[in-house]
């Protein structure tokens, strides 16, 4: 029986890990479909961001109460995974509570902490469910989340509650078995949460308790493997990608817009033709800005996969707040959906993209959304996982204006005023210092 359980466990783990690796690899491939961009240097500042923003969740604490709840779930997730290590080793070796004899007093301290966290996770997730489904906070009922994204969020919260309940029930049944003196269930003492639940199981027979304990053990670990494999399909992937995304976050001031070296050179050669290279190396036509998701930099695509759709960006967005179509969260979700589709298309067509007549601009994100942005950086400021929606908006605007000459009439007038009068208004450059004459 035991050997059968061990073999089943090994097979299950191998399959779960293989499937997860396969899906993550596909996501990595999709991200690398993006434009090359060198993000390196200043690793001290980058690691600091990983520590403060990803591990420390610094930006979450702009709203302390929610941050605390989220922190409990996060710490619960990270710490309880130490217990999963024991569970996995027990599964492989056919042991029970492998670390108990080794760690002694430390063991009960650890399990007690895990249990407190598990209870905390259940409470926090329940509050999150209430916020989403009963209190209906504005950012959670937004139409951005209609359909799958809204269910996705609820599935994650339910799963976490179920996993933690299984963990606690397992320990409670274990304790009840210990009290009955069952074979293989060495006395570990009362744990803080399950110890109190164990008395509820006192009436049950040893064989029933073993079934409950084993059942919970299996469901818990199967649940964890299933959840692991759910990540690549879910917004919950942020628990992994928040870390690299913090590392690669922009270190420049938020106000700085990325320079377009190719345009800079063209203008330079136009102004100073003597500097132009004798033989043009422009054999392939250059694209200006981004029309489709794979024209964006790989960092923007990593941003898209890191997004957990919390909507802090859209709540802070002045355009969104005043009823415009623009929602930075939707920009990120659209980008991810589109690059996912491009990746699938490439895979289905043997490694090359088969044009599907769609682009990120127009088919996913409309010009009206892009034109509503005030470039105020509120979305960038708010994002807890270092996403920059403004980079994408600017790249798409560049394509609209420079590739498609698609600008509102007032902007075209502004461009020609700048060109002819050196000011965005139709006023004579000779009057630029007109105010001087009015001084006394």
């Amino acid at each position: 029986m035991n050997y059968f359980q061990q073999a089943a466990f090994l097979l299950l783990s191998a399959f779960a890990i293989w499937l997860f690796a396969k899906n993550i690899n596909q996501i990595k491939k999709n991200i690398l479909l993006g434009r090359a961009k060198d993000i390196s240097g200043n690793s001290a500042a980058r690691w600091k961001n990983v520590l403060l923003l990803a591990f420390g969740q610094k930006k979450m604490f702009r709203n302390p109460l929610v941050a605390l709840l989220h922190f409990v779930v996060y710490i619960g997730f990270v710490i309880i995974n130490i217990e999963v290590l024991e569970i996995v080793l027990d599964g492989i070796l056919g042991t029970h509570r492998l670390f108990l004899p080794v760690l002694g007093g430390l063991y009960s301290f650890l399990i007690n902490s895990f249990e407190i966290l598990a209870a905390g996770v259940i409470v926090a997730c329940a509050i999150f469910l209430v916020r989403r489904n009963i209190i209906k906070l504005k950012r959670f009922i937004s139409k951005d989340l209609d359909g799958w994204p809204r269910s996705d969020a609820n599935y994650i919260l339910f799963t976490e509650i179920i996993l933690m309940s299984l963990f606690l029930t397992m320990n409670a049944a274990d304790r009840a078995l210990q009290l009955q003196g069952a074979l293989h269930y060495a006395d570990s003492g009362n744990f803080i949460v399950s110890g109190n639940l164990a008395s509820l199981f006192g009436e049950l027979s040893t064989s029933t308790l073993i079934a409950v304990e084993r059942g919970c053990w299996w469901l818990h670990i199967i649940g964890i493997f299933a959840f692991l494999n759910y990540l690549p399909y879910s917004k919950h992937l942020h628990i992994l990608l928040a870390f690299p995304n913090a590392y690669y976050a922009r270190l420049e001031p938020m106000g700085e817009m990325e320079n377009m070296k190719n345009v800079q050179n063209e203008v330079l050669y136009m102004m100073q033709p003597e500097l132009a290279p004798a033989v043009s190396d422009a054999t392939t036509p250059v694209k200006f800005g981004a029309k489709d998701a794979n024209d964006l930099s790989w960092k923007s695509l990593l941003d898209a996969y890191s997004c957990t759709e919390c909507g802090r960006c859209s709540t802070a967005c002045p355009a969104n707040k005043t009823g415009k179509l623009l929602s930075p969260r939707k920009i990120m979700m659209d980008t991810r959906d589109r690059i996912h589709e491009i990746g699938k298309n490439i895979k289905a067509n043997g490694g090359t993209f088969k044009p599907d007549g769609k682009t990120l601009v127009n088919d996913y994100i409309t010009t009206e959304e892009l034109r509503a942005c005030t470039s105020c950086n509120a979305c960038v400021q708010e994002c807890p996982v270092s996403i920059n929606p403004l980079d994408i908006i600017f790249e798409l605007r560049r394509s609209l204006v420079m590739e498609d000459s698609n600008a509102p009439q007032e902007w075209n007038a502004m461009f020609s005023n700048i060109e002819n009068n050196f000011a965005p208004w139709k006023l004579s450059p000779d009057d630029r210092d007109g105010w001087v004459r009015e001084l006394s």
């Binding site: 106000g255 800005g289 034109r371 950086n377 394509s399 502004m414 700048i418």
Partner: protein, 259 residues
């Protein structure tokens, strides 16, 4: 008052301590011209050796770049850098956060390297150094004033304290809006919105923001950006509060409070 130009200074073989970059709004917009005049009044009073480019100044290219027209931006940047480098400009002060941001963060990649300072910091330094003497019991002493953060000063460049310190130096009662500093709400003008009609929505951004400012009960809404100033002035007018509530630039407040 004489406002020296770079061309004049060059002809006299002189070099200014600082170039005052007026910007398009400060040059052409009637409301913003008052800010410009207030600022040169301060410079003149303190006998700071400054100059303007005058007719040689051109748009930095900011609205073109933010709208997506990189070509237009690069052309303007190229021309401005030629002029600035031609005059060997080392230090620039400007009252426009958009000009400030683009000089400080974006011109260096194109060969335009200057020490750039926004007038909020410039005024704060002058106050700290004791060069600006404010009237005892000045015009704004004890008045309730709220400060609106410009996105291109605040989030874009982390300048939140300097303009507030300038206000505090005038002994005003500084009241904050619900959203301020890094949470500050945009006035609605950035990203080239100033030059087009707002997209369809339920309310205009400038009205949303000026309502937040009016809620504080302040009699002055202070700003440090000519575009924010225009947007908020329009918002206050929309609520017919322009008699009770003034939208003023920090340079105007300082100029009016100087001895």
């Amino acid at each position: 008052m004489h406002v020296p130009t770079m061309a004049e200074m060059m002809a006299n073989g002189e070099q200014p301590e600082v170039l005052f970059w007026v910007g398009c709004a400060g040059s052409f917009d009637q409301r913003a011209q008052k800010i410009t005049k207030a600022f040169v009044t301060i410079l003149d009073k303190l006998q700071i050796k400054y100059a303007i480019l005058g007719k040689e100044e051109m748009c930095t290219g900011d609205p073109a770049r933010r709208a997506g027209n990189e070509f237009m931006f690069q052309m303007m940047a190229y021309q401005n850098i030629q002029i600035l480098n031609g005059y060997s400009i080392k230090k620039i002060v400007t009252a426009c956060p958009h000009c400030f941001n683009i000089f400080k963060n974006e011109y260096p990649a194109l060969g335009g390297n200057y020490e750039v300072i926004h007038h909020a910091n410039f005024l704060q330094q002058l106050i700290d150094e004791g060069k600006i003497n404010l009237k005892e019991g000045g015009s704004f002493k004890g008045k309730k004033i709220t400060y609106h953060d410009s996105c291109y000063l605040g989030r874009a460049n982390n300048i939140y304290e300097a303009p507030r310190k300038v206000l505090e130096a005038m002994d005003v009662e500084l009241v904050e809006m619900k959203r301020c500093k890094s949470n500050g709400l945009c006035c609605g003008a950035g990203g080239a919105q100033m030059f087009k009609e707002e997209e369809n929505g339920t309310v205009r951004i400038n009205i949303e923001r000026s309502d937040e400012a009016l809620e504080t009960g302040a009699s002055v809404i202070a700003s440090a950006c000519p575009f924010c100033n225009t947007m908020l002035t329009d918002g206050v007018k929309n609520r017919e509060k322009e008699e009770e509530v003034k939208v003023l630039d920090i340079a105007e407040l300082v100029a009016a409070s100087m001895q």
